[in-house]
């Protein structure tokens, strides 16, 4: 298997109500990624596109066809990946495998979403399509509800009093906004307090508005290349050294493991093993904090903390930029935003910025970061991981 490098990257402003179409959003970030790789559109051999709800948000299926021909990558093979909120990460993994296998030397990965075009009620309906449509959606199952069910289960399983867990969850959101406020690409650039979280609208007990990430419009792109190409044209490549992907059935069928998500543990184990590392080697992590409780559940399964103890780690500052394991220093999904098809590519973008020491001016640099981890969750059982090293 060949080494696979991340070259140039592009990232749009994450926002509400983007004035751009999905194709326009993607073309802009793709050309940023291509030109900063010292390439032109004609050099791209294939494109791997993450997009989930474009068919409903804009009535546009096969967006990959329109996007690559819009940006000047004429007639190339283009594929769209849909794994709900993990669509972008899955597209990266697929692109990685094609380059690693020697099938292509230079490919584009881009993700896009325009979720705010749906409006909150329809967006809530569409996001819930990533739960089981026949056996769980009839009960009114939504994603806030999914993580609310997990939050109560977490409190009960680890015997943590609910007010204590709420305080820990609030600390996650407070930290994300503290860093997101410094990230010019973030959608929600303001700081919040624990009090703000606990006074916000109750969405689905015990999840309040400030436990939730927003709906977001945005796009991100990266160019992946073989080692041979990377060494010729690019001075600061990062290397994807491990990938993982695993799935589970509907939430209730995961009863042997909940509140842990078994697919996450299987996927990250695969990624760690491929890279020849363990959680202790990770210097910086971008994980899937769609809801505050999701960060606690994720960080434990990634191997950073003992089960049931992650909330205390956030309260103690162990996840800060200078902490034991810096997590979501970009602001995470909570503050940076969550355009679901683009999210995984955005996570990879921010990890590479860390590994290239390019977050110094923003006051967000993890000193000496050499190894990063991307964790993305799609639906209630599609988990994807990337280990990235410099």
């Amino acid at each position: 298997m060949r080494k696979v490098a991340v070259l140039g990257m592009g990232h749009s402003q994450f926002c509400f109500n983007s004035p751009r179409t999905q194709v326009e959003l993607m073309s802009e970030v793709a050309l940023d990624a291509i030109t900063s790789s010292n390439l032109i559109a004609k050099d791209i051999e294939a494109a791997f596109i993450g997009n989930c709800l474009g068919t409903i948000a804009e009535g546009q299926a096969t967006i990959q066809q329109f996007a690559v021909n819009d940006m000047g990558c004429l007639n190339i093979p283009a594929l769209r990946y849909e794994g709900a909120c993990a669509s972008g990460t899955i597209a990266v993994r697929e692109a990685f495998m094609h380059v690693a296998a020697g099938h292509y030397d230079v490919v584009l990965v881009a993700g896009v979403e325009k979720a705010t075009a749906l409006g909150t009620p329809l967006a809530t309906r569409c996001f819930s399509m990533a739960g089981d449509s026949r056996y769980e959606y009839p009960s009114g199952y939504t994603f806030p509800a999914a993580f609310a069910l997990l939050a109560h289960l977490y409190a009960s399983h680890y015997n943590i009093p609910l007010p204590k867990l709420k305080e820990q969850m609030a600390a996650v959101s407070v930290q994300s906004h503290f860093y997101g406020n410094k990230n010019p690409l973030a959608q929600l650039r303001f700081e919040i307090t624990a009090e703000d979280v606990l006074n916000s609208f109750m969405v689905s007990t015990p999840i309040q508005l400030h436990d939730c990430c927003p709906f977001t419009d945005g796009a991100a792109a990266v160019v992946l290349a073989s080692e041979e190409v990377a060494k010729k044209i690019y001075s600061k490549p990062c290397w994807i050294t491990g990938v993982g992907l695993a799935t589970s059935g509907q939430l209730s069928s995961q009863y042997r493991y909940l509140p842990r998500l078994r697919a996450r543990e299987l996927s990250v184990e695969k990624a760690y093993k491929m890279a020849g590392i363990g959680p202790q080697d990770v210097d910086v992590c971008e994980l899937h904090d769609c809801f505050s409780i999701a960060s606690l559940i994720a960080s434990e399964s990634l191997g950073f903390f003992e089960f049931g103890t992650a909330g205390e780690a956030w309260l103690k500052g162990e996840t800060k930029v200078d902490g034991k394991i810096p997590i979501n220093i970009s602001g995470g999904l909570k503050s940076k935003g969550h355009p679901i098809g683009a999210t995984g590519v955005s996570q990879l973008y921010h990890i590479c910025k860390q590994l290239r020491n390019e977050m110094v001016d923003l006051g967000l640099q993890v000193e000496g970061a050499r190894t990063g981890l991307v964790d993305t969750l799609g639906g209630d059982g599609c988990l994807c991981h990337l280990v990235v090293q410099r």
């Binding site: 909150t120 009620p121 329809l122 809530t124 309906r125 819930s128 399509m129 449509s133 026949r134 056996y135 769980e136 959606y137 009839p138 009960s139 009114g140 199952y141 939504t142 806030p144 509800a145 609310a148 069910l149 997990l150 939050a151 109560h152 289960l153 409190a155 009960s156 609910l162 609208f201 109750m202 969405v203 689905s204 007990t205 015990p206 999840i207 059935g249 509907q250 939430l251 209730s252 069928s253 009863y255």
Partner: protein, 138 residues
């Protein structure tokens, strides 16, 4: 290979508040809601069995935000129930005012009835859903 307990058949029974599951002749585990294969051992030698619909609440949430078209149901409470036969299933808790529901309902015994979600433009028709009421005295 035929699907032993398709949605249509499961749903028809659930509309009458009868809960069907699958018993695995290889490992004895019960799968509910139905799947092609046993959710424990992936065995395919399954037979349809009627379940009690009784169990205990393992987790819950009361939602104040709804998907498009379901605003009139708000607020509503979703529970996951561990059935006496083993599996966990999702449904709604119906016999308690949502503002009285607290963490203490975890562990309470419940019994199952059903209601119908009429469906929307995305749902390919209606689906019955389990609804639970308390089956114990406090």
């Amino acid at each position: 290979m035929d699907y032993k307990l398709p949605f249509k058949e499961y749903n028809r029974a659930l509309r009458k508040s009868r809960l069907l599951g699958l018993r695995c002749n290889s490992c004895g585990a019960i799968t509910c809601p139905p799947k092609m294969s046993c959710q424990e051992c992936t065995g395919l030698d399954l037979e349809v069995t009627e379940l009690s619909g009784k169990g205990s609440i393992v987790t819950y949430t009361t939602s104040f935000g709804a998907p498009q078209g379901r605003e009139n149901e708000l607020p509503y409470t979703i529970v996951i129930v561990q059935l006496d036969e083993g599996p966990w299933i999702m449904g709604n808790l119906i016999d308690m005012e949502t503002d009285k529901i607290t963490f203490d309902i975890i562990g309470r015994r419940v019994k199952m009835g059903s209601r119908v979600y009429p469906g929307d433009v995305y749902s390919a028709g209606a689906s019955a859903r389990p609804v639970f009421s308390f089956d114990d005295q406090i």
